[in-house]
């Protein structure tokens, strides 16, 4: 870790995006209180997570990258037990419903599928009715259908007004879910902002059209206004048209690839 300076606002979904080994999990584990930091200031809901106060842990929910569970426990039993840790838990049946576990509520966990176990992870993080939820790579290893289902669950958490800190190395996941994204690499924040806005300064616009000879031409520019004006005046002066003209804003993917490229 070299230095990560981020502020997550209440009620937003904040994404930490970066390649494997970028320092995402380390960052989250410091915030969760699993790891000690070597320097810097950290405040989670007004607490220093390194002190591991019970009061803070009552207000956060954690979905680990991989967390085990008793192999003989059923989701309903696990949720009832976990609910007992908190002063004001959510209703267990409601949480089962929300996590999509109604039909498997009585199945021993060793018989649950990977997707169902992940739902149980969500449910256990949620049952204490936390203010803030940490999701570390919530959909890694999922098939597309399970990913969609997990995204739905995360959106419903946001709709409940929860603050969510999400790490992912999937661009589409960050784009789909996060209100704001920080792109992290080598323990450093490379860019931060809303997924749609992140493109603005960092990467180039792409302008494409067919020229007088019908050839497809592509330009990349940081100043699309000037380039468009030049192209248009040239076309008008020479009497041809900018056929199939398109102006593409840089996507999060462009920003990400540009920022995380080696060298």
């Amino acid at each position: 870790m070299r230095g990560i300076d981020i502020t997550v606002r209440r009620g937003e979904v904040f994404g930490l995006l970066g390649p494997n080994g970028a320092g995402k999990t380390t960052t989250v584990e410091i915030l969760e209180g699993y790891r000690a930091r070597s320097g810097g200031d950290v405040s989670v809901l007004g607490h220093d997570p390194a002190r591991r106060s019970i009061e803070l842990r009552r207000q956060i929910g954690i979905v680990l990258q991989s967390g085990g569970i008793y192999s003989q426990i059923t989701p309903r039993e696990a949720l009832r037990h976990w609910a007992g840790f908190y002063p004001a838990p959510r209703d267990v049946e409601e949480v089962l419903e929300l996590a999509g576990l109604r039909d498997s509520a009585e199945v021993r966990s060793r018989r649950l599928s990977g997707g169902q176990l992940r739902r149980l992870d969500f449910a256990l993080a949620l049952v204490g009715d936390p203010e803030l939820i940490f999701l570390d790579e919530p959909t890694t290893g999922f098939d597309p259908e399970a990913r969609r289902a997990a995204w739905e669950t995360i959106r419903s958490l946001r709709d409940l007004g929860k603050t969510i800190l999400l790490t992912t190395h999937y661009l589409d996941e960050a784009q789909e879910l996060a209100d704001r994204v920080a792109i992290v690499k080598d323990g450093r924040v490379l860019a931060i902002g809303a997924p749609r806005e992140l493109g603005a300064g960092a990467a180039k616009y792409r302008i494409a059209y067919r020229d007088a000879a019908g050839e497809l031409v592509e330009h990349e520019t940081e100043d699309p206004t000037r380039l468009l004006a030049e192209l248009a005046s040239r076309a008008l002066a020479e009497g041809w048209r900018l056929q199939e003209l398109s102006v593409a804003r840089p996507t999060l993917e462009d920003v990400y690839l540009e920022l995380t490229a080696d060298g």
Partner: protein, 271 residues
């Protein structure tokens, strides 16, 4: 029509109790955790087997071989009682802690508001319950089949079981730190358990054991425990005459507790 009964309630009334409700206390949480551990224990047939059936099989087999000699049976019963204490605490906790650590259960628990003392307390209390059940079964079997009668000194029994449980449970938790992964747990645990049991049984039983072997066994916690239990269950020798044995077990308890707390690891070191 369940809704109709709530028709009079204010729509703003919260569906669940609010933060004003008292937070659950550590003692109540320990009890909850203990109950969960008990339920999970009985659902795992192989754990139940190793905890209860194995020492009983030893007892039955030993009884069959030694039947006819009351002198030998008098040695057998306290030996099995001592072994039961070790298998229900040292062995069971080492297995359990490594399993929970490698599966990521410990890490998950650490992220909840469950106090550490409640979690570890629940786990340990569950192990001790097995010890008590096991000792109870051995006492009953001694009375019913081995001509030993009821324990001669209940106080001595209580003290030795208590100190033995604390010592061997702490050593089990401490030993879990040494075991690198779940696959090798059986090898690690048996590499300690079996030699300790054999040496202790042999030295306790035979007055002609070589001196160095005797010194080793007297310095380990199991042989002193068996001697103490023998005094309580069979010979009726007073607690006062077994203070050396008690001191050895208590020293192991301090050693075990120190390492159990100091080296405790909540996460698998494999990443």
């Amino acid at each position: 029509m369940a809704e109709s009964s709530h028709a009079g309630a204010s729509p703003a009334a919260p569906a669940r109790s609010d933060a004003a409700r008292a937070a659950p206390g550590a003692l109540a949480l320990t009890w909850r955790q203990y109950r969960l551990e008990r339920r999970m224990f009985w659902r795992n047939p192989s754990a139940a087997f190793f905890n209860f059936l194995l020492p009983l099989l030893f007892l039955a087999a030993g009884g069959a071989i030694l039947s006819g000699s009351q002198h030998d049976l008098n040695k057998l019963v306290p030996s099995i009682a001592g072994m039961s204490v070790m298998s229900t605490t040292f062995t069971a906790l080492a297995y359990n802690i490594v399993f929970l650590r490698e599966r990521g259960v410990l890490k998950r628990m650490r992220g909840t508001p469950l106090p550490t003392i409640s979690y570890i307390g629940g786990l340990a209390a569950s192990a001790v319950t097995n010890t008590v059940l096991q000792i109870g079964i051995v006492i009953l079997a001694g009375r019913a089949f081995f001509g030993i009668g009821w324990p001669h000194d209940w106080l001595s029994l209580l003290v030795f079981v208590l100190v033995g449980v604390v010592s061997l449970a702490a050593l089990g938790v401490a030993f879990a730190h040494v075991i690198p992964n779940f696959e090798s747990t059986a090898a690690y645990v048996n590499a300690v358990f079996l030699p300790v049991v054999f040496v202790s049984f042999y030295v306790f039983d035979s007055s002609s054991a070589p001196g160095f072997l005797r010194s080793i066994a007297e310095g380990l916690p199991l042989k002193p425990l068996i001697s103490g239990l023998s005094g309580a269950l069979v010979t009726g020798s007073a607690l006062g005459s077994n203070l050396d044995e008690l001191a050895v077990i208590a020293l192991w308890a301090l050693f075990g507790l120190w390492f159990a707390v100091r080296g405790f690891s909540w996460e698998s070191s494999r990443r």
